[in-house]
């Protein structure tokens, strides 16, 4: 399912800059999916803030799909860490859909990887 979404959207944004950051949120009764693609940095800071707030408000378990992240800087990392902390406070689980070695490396470096459950299964959902 997520594969189809990114394929259909890349035709819109992908033509300009294949690494342009993009943040999309998909609401489903079972879970809220935050799809992060391209460069997750200051350019998408406002989108991240909106996505995080909406996802927490939706009160469903949150899955952040980071498989298509090209590059993530401190703006992106702090978003994920805040999301995990807010989720914990709100009683909402926050998991990351990988694999995404760069994201995992940075989260580990800042001592925050323990805040997340990683889902690296191939099952779409």
């Amino acid at each position: 399912m997520t594969g189809d979404i990114s394929a259909s959207q890349s035709s819109v944004t992908g033509d300009l800059d294949p690494f342009a950051g993009d943040v999309s949120v998909f609401f489903d009764p079972a879970h809220t999916l935050i799809l992060l693609r391209g460069d997750i940095d200051l350019a998408v800071a406002a989108d991240l803030e909106d996505a995080g707030r909406d996802a927490i408000d939706a009160k469903a378990p949150i899955v952040a799909d980071v498989r298509s992240v090209n590059l993530i800087d401190s703006v992106g990392i702090s978003f994920l860490v805040r999301l995990a902390a807010s989720g914990k406070e709100a009683g909402t689980t926050v998991s990351l859909r990988g694999p995404a070695p760069r994201v995992a490396e940075l989260l580990t470096l800042v001592g925050a990887n323990d805040l997340f459950v990683w889902d690296e299964s191939d099952v779409a959902g």
């Binding site: 940095d41 800087d73 401190s74 760069r102 470096l109 800042v110 001592g111």
Partner: protein, 438 residues
Amino acid sequence: MPSVHEPSPMAHDLSVANRHVHDVRRLAAVQRSQLLDTPPDEPFDRLATLARDLLEAKVALVTVVDSRRSYWKARIGVDQLPGERPEHLVHVSFSQYVLDARGPVLVNDTRTDPRTRTNPSVAEMQICSWAGYPVFSPDGQVLGSLSVMDEKPREWTERDRLVLDTLARAASTEVGLRMAMADSQRAAQRARRVADRSAHMALVLQRSMLTQPSVPAYVDVAVRYQPAAELTQVGGDWYDAFTEPDGSTVVVIGDVCGHDIEAAALMGQLRSLVRGSCYDRADSPAQVLRHVDRAIRGLEIDVIATVMIARINPEPDADGARTLRWSSAGHPPGMVLAADGTSILLDAPPELLLGIDPGAERFDHETRLAAGDTLLLYTDGLVERPDRTIVEGLGELADVLSTVGAASPEDVCSAVLAASVDPDARDDVALVAVRNRG
């Protein structure tokens, strides 16, 4: 029953058409459309060609009318004579009737129709029949018309009307798209200017806070702050080094998440908080970090940051070595560089960055800073690049350090920056190097 009053065409022009022609909102829309005095362009030419071909007419025009003239944005079927301007004065144009009606105008025979019979263009262009449909701006102003004309009188059919209506709407849509595009380009330009200004202010703010360190005589120190190639990425990195009343040296490196003026301002707050929490207290680096993390929460400072604090004991051992005690809140590991070029990583299981959980576990670590050893603390811009992992970045940093082991802290900083920072660096870099003189 009111009496039927048929004004003369001239009086008609002045009283009604001119009022529409000169309507300020309409003229503003014409100006915003940026279509006047622009060269022919394919979309409008295509619509005019289609109009002419589908209606088998002689001429098709797309016009834009300002206060004085009807400019031919597209003209199909009429040749432009050398030196001739592609326009008519409003009062001899046909578009004036569309402006007047704010809707379609169809004239079966221009020579007899009261609206057109005195218009000199009828004879000049040999126009016997004419049909014009309005081209609208997005805010509903009539900009001009899409029209077709013929050399012989004709009855405009239902199909003719449908075709012209559709093509005129397409022309209006085209105008709307262009205006929206131009608007968004202007907005982007404005945003860029604002961003540039704000980035510049962030840099000034950043620099004003990064003061020269004051350290005891038993250490040499060098500091660097290098902004990112892209100015908009400034903000949030800091170094600090100062002397405690007991003579120990405190070295701090930190990085507030985010790259903007807000991050620079938060950095200033956090830097002060760390200084105040360290100074003249017996607390260990880990205790200081715990205290700062609690203060961030309690004082509701909206910040997430990685920070490393190191404290160098003033009392050397017999060999001139000093004890270095440090604790790191999610910060990239520091390095200790020996005079022979070997370097060790101040590596420990990573602990959580500040601003998330004031109850996070924090530990102190100790290492020996031999005489001539240099402690190097840096922010992630030094080792983090899109094209390599951090482990690779740390490896490259160690390679550079191996060539400058005995150099002064100043030279170590210069060498490290020269080798590690790529020219289009996305991230800023703060660096502090402190050498134990023994």
